[in-house]
């Protein structure tokens, strides 16, 4: 079932494109730039249009998307990506505009961006947003640079950022990129921040605590107000990793929990498609006192005109050559306008309902490491199954045999054999039940015939792939 490489379709002289004939006088590049700068050979495929269409269609058939079925990757919020948003983002009047057109030429787009920014600020409880960061990690980096700049501006030296052990890997990585030392603190037996350990870790060298709330176990940090006070009293700031906003939208706002800075992944909560790993958007929100440090340029409104304001001397600078992932922002705006406040709240409610239903149905079969209430996602442990010979990695692969995608298994690191499950609101009772039944079936298989699970997958286009070989003998190109 393997599909060959596009280069293997190649036949000398074959073409898959046509351009109008050159209608200006000819000029030899070599004569103009000299043969030093004129390329000899480009070893690219020579294929027809049909070859290209067949090949990339064949490749697509080896993939699984949200439209294929449930995609319960915890922390990734793989909800349905509305088709109408795709149409809107492709409107010529919106997409065929150049980033260096004058502001007066693109007022329609700027108005959309401005309204989106306002809506996101209202939803998250922040005072101002920047749309520039192109991913969640990019947003974290931006937010942490803002914090750094703020303290520098105040003449206060702070070198540490606290990150809970349940945090996503980008949190510590971003903190280091922003020039901080990372202090990791362990969760308590309820899967939450251990207040005593937090107090021990906090001193006046702490610039920020990065927190996901609900955390990556899906559990809301009930002591959030106390946590915020501890950090603020020590002179630090509170950073919110907004990957999990789908759990609280319309019910609670990070801004009201006293977070000072946050990022939101529009490619999660706000339904923009993941594209097989990107593009995304990691818009950043801040409280009033941090506004001067936002990346340049800042979108502002003067009378009835929208403009990019470059005049911000305290800004951390630019993180993207232009204004961010505009096409993603258009889709997110389209989504928010479709739902409105009522739809957003209903979204949260059903995301939470679906997750809790699944947890209830599965907690007997697997181990539930934390009894706490969870919101939009939950984490099970496969330790029982592991004892019988099959790891969660095996379970994940076996799920693929049943035509369903697997939960997140590479984190959170605080749970052994973790399976982080996030069904999202766009799944319904039928698809949830099907997934639950499949997991139970696999668990039964592990009792009766563990080999079939350990050697999974069996029905996919390739069998289990050798990652060790891939890393030891890198074959990264043809």
């Amino acid at each position: 079932m393997a599909e060959r490489l596009i280069k293997d379709y190649s036949s000398p002289g074959r073409k898959g494109y046509s351009l109008p004939p050159l209608d200006v006088p000819d000029l030899e590049l070599e004569e103009y730039v000299g043969n030093k700068y004129s390329r000899d050979e480009l070893n690219f495929p020579e294929v027809s249009e049909v070859d290209v269409v067949r090949h990339y269609t064949a490749l697509s058939e080896l993939n699984y998307g949200v439209d294929s079925g449930i995609y319960p990757l915890g922390s990734c919020t793989m909800k349905y990506n509305p088709k109408r948003n795709e149409d809107i983002a492709r409107l010529n009047k919106l997409s065929q505009i150049h980033p260096y057109q004058k502001e007066e030429d693109v007022q329609g787009s700027l108005e959309i961006l401005y309204k989106l920014k306002d809506d996101l600020a209202e939803i998250s409880g922040m005072d101002e947003m920047t749309l520039q960061p192109a991913s969640g990690a990019h947003g974290e980096f931006t937010g942490l640079l803002i914090i750094k700049k703020y303290f520098e501006d105040k003449g206060i030296e702070k070198s540490k950022v606290i990150v809970p052990d349940s945090a996503h890997g980008t949190n510590p990585a971003s903190a280091v990129m922003a020039g901080f030392d990372v202090v990791e603190i362990d969760s308590n037996e309820h899967g939450m921040i251990d207040i005593e350990k937090l107090k021990e870790a906090v001193d006046d060298d702490v610039a920020a605590l990065m927190l996901t709330n609900p955390n990556t176990l899906g559990i809301f940090e009930k002591d959030i107000s106390e946590i915020a006070d501890i950090i603020h009293e020590a002179g630090g700031l509170l950073y919110y990793d907004g990957a999990n906003l789908n759990a609280v939208m319309g019910y609670a706002r990070p801004g009201d929990m006293d977070f000072d800075v946050l990022h939101l992944n529009l490619h999660k909560t706000f339904s923009t498609p993941h594209g097989g790993g990107g593009p995304g958007s990691g818009t950043v929100g801040v409280k009033e006192f941090l506004k001067p440090y936002l990346p340049r340029p800042v979108l502002s409104k003067k009378e009835d005109c929208y403009t990019w304001d470059y005049d911000s001397p305290k800004s951390i600078g630019k993180l993207h050559a232009f204004y961010g992932n505009y096409g993603v922002l258009i889709r997110a705006y389209s989504y928010i306008k479709t739902l409105g406040s009522e739809g957003l709240k209903k979204t949260t409610e059903n995301a939470v309902l679906n997750a809790n239903y699944m947890k209830n149905k599965l907690k007997e079969e697997f181990v539930l490491p934390f009894e706490e209430n969870n919101l939009h996602e939950f984490v099970l442990s496969g330790v029982k199954q592991k004892e019988k010979g099959a790891s969660t990695l095996n379970i994940a692969k076996r799920l693929l045999d049943y035509g369903q995608y697997a939960p997140t298994i590479y984190f959170p690191l605080v749970v052994k054999e973790a399976m982080m499950i996030e069904p999202t609101e766009t799944e319904n009772l039928d698809t949830l039940n099907k997934f639950i039944e499949t997991l139970k079936t696999i668990s039964k298989e592990i009792e009766e015939n563990p080999e079939v699970v350990k050697n999974a997958p069996h029905n996919t286009s390739v069998r289990k792939l050798d990652e060790v070989k891939a890393a030891r003998e890198p074959d990264l190109r043809w």
Binding site: T170, P457, E467
Partner: protein, 446 residues
């Protein structure tokens, strides 16, 4: 409307299963103090028809390249995009999939990345390429951070011929590190090589130049290589527009260690600046392989010995290494790199060359014509590819306004970057002789 399909009956059934009366009970784990006690103030609830009307009303206010003939470039180019690209990437299997964490059910994405890496490596002449970075600016920045790690040096020489926005992004990324940025000025329209030479010393981590540079000129990479070679640790980073490499000698031939930049010109719409894709290619020794940022796909075998693809060398990445990762990047620009892959395949060996060639020739036709006019002078007439720098005796803004009245977006006023004066004009294969002639005629009226 919304995208919830559970009915009330089903919801009640689920609530019963969970053992609560109402959904609010589940939310009781959120302390009252931080719960929102009002509805969000977010308008919406639109049907598809209302939404489309609303958006169309706003979109009407834009002046799009659909109705205006564009000579704008500076990092975002209006090239011809074959129809098949949007059809193919609109297949849900590509655009609604997540990062290929479960490789066996993501072979389409993974093989597309492998093909992308192969063609980017071929185009730049480098050994390996990653799966993409966020955009051209961040790719330049990540290349500099990578060079500092590889060389263990901290002085970075940035050519003023590097896009001003890329320079700014690079400095933002570099600000938390102990990096010493030195900007090298221009002589005419290319990097001042005497100044570059005088700044080179044993502390240099990287020289960063753009090819063709921001003003469209081709840097003397041969001389830059000679200078760099005197310092063992210094790396050469070339920020190249990949479309021009259809006919220009690949940077590898001039000793580039890292080639990075913006991949938009390979099949992506201008889209007001994003989403685009950053690309990064480099030498293939272990030293580089260990320090390259971002995802990489590699070929391997499955349990039955059949060829397949996985994400590999992941011990560089945040989800494994956390604080010790080479970069924090997680989500990248996968769909845009798929676009570029399909573009490179479709245009192929001849097409990429023809696009570069036609862009070059048409830009030169325009420059020749403009140089005949009294009020204008092409600054880099003797050295440019498909973008050039124009000085005008007439006020630039007046010129731009005059052209716009005639449905032409006639270049970018360089004053917006606060460094040089004049106009930056870019020509792609999409422009016709008639459009170019009209531009020249209107300029003549000034």
């Amino acid at each position: 409307m919304d995208y919830v399909s559970n009915t009330n009956k089903e919801r009640n059934l689920m609530l019963k299963e969970i053992g609560v009366e109402a959904v609010e009970e589940i939310f009781s784990s959120i302390p009252e103090k931080v719960r929102l006690d009002r509805e969000l103030d977010v308008s919406g609830g639109m049907s598809e028809l209302e939404l489309k009307n609303h958006i169309n009303e706003l979109a009407e206010k834009n002046y799009s390249l659909d109705e205006y003939t564009s000579f704008l470039g500076a990092g975002a180019y209006d090239h011809y995009i074959p129809s098949i690209i949007d059809h193919l990437i609109s297949r849900q299997e590509y655009y609604t999939a997540y990062t290929p964490y479960q490789a066996e059910l993501s072979q389409g994405t993974l093989q597309a990345i492998y093909e992308y890496q192969s063609m980017i490596a071929e185009l730049t002449g480098m050994d390996i390429a990653n799966a993409s970075l966020l955009d051209g600016g961040s790719a330049a920045a990540e290349a500099v951070l990578m060079a500092a790690r590889v060389s263990r040096k901290n002085k970075v020489l940035l050519s003023s011929g590097l896009h001003p926005a890329y320079r700014e992004v690079t400095k933002t990324y570099g600000s938390p590190k102990d990096l010493d940025f030195v900007e090298i000025g221009l002589e005419d329209s290319t990097t001042d090589l005497d100044e570059l030479e005088s700044q080179l010393d044993d502390e240099v981590a990287a020289i960063v130049v753009q090819y063709p540079n921001f003003y469209g000129s081709i840097e003397d990479l041969e001389r830059i290589q000679e200078m760099k070679d005197k310092y063992k640790k210094a790396l050469l980073i070339v920020v190249a527009n990949p479309i021009t490499l259809g006919t220009l000698t690949p940077p590898s031939e001039f000793g580039a260690d890292i080639v990075a930049g913006e991949g938009q010109s390979l099949g992506n719409t201008v889209n007001y600046g994003g989403p685009y894709l950053g690309y990064l290619a480099c030498k293939g020794d272990r030293k580089f392989m260990r320090q390259i940022p971002g995802r990489i796909a590699g070929a391997t075998e499955d349990a039955e010995g059949n060829r397949g693809y996985v994400l590999t060398l992941q011990t560089r990445e945040q989800h494994i290494r956390r604080a010790k990762a080479t970069s924090n990047i997680c989500t990248n620009e996968a769909l845009n790199s798929t676009i570029s892959t399909i573009y490179m395949a479709t245009m192929g060996k001849q097409g990429l060359k023809e696009v570069a060639d036609q862009s070059f020739k048409k830009a030169h036709y325009l420059a020749d014509k403009i140089n005949e006019l009294d009020n204008f002078e092409v600054v880099n007439f003797d050295n440019f590819f498909h973008e050039f720098w124009l000085k005008s005796k007439k006020p630039i803004n007046k010129l731009i306004a005059h052209l716009k009245q005639n449905k032409i977006l006639g270049g970018i006023n360089l004053s917006r970057f606060g460094e040089e004066k004049g106009l930056l004009l870019s020509v792609t294969e999409k422009r016709t002789k008639a459009e170019i002639d009209e531009l020249v005629e209107l300029m003549g009226e000034m």
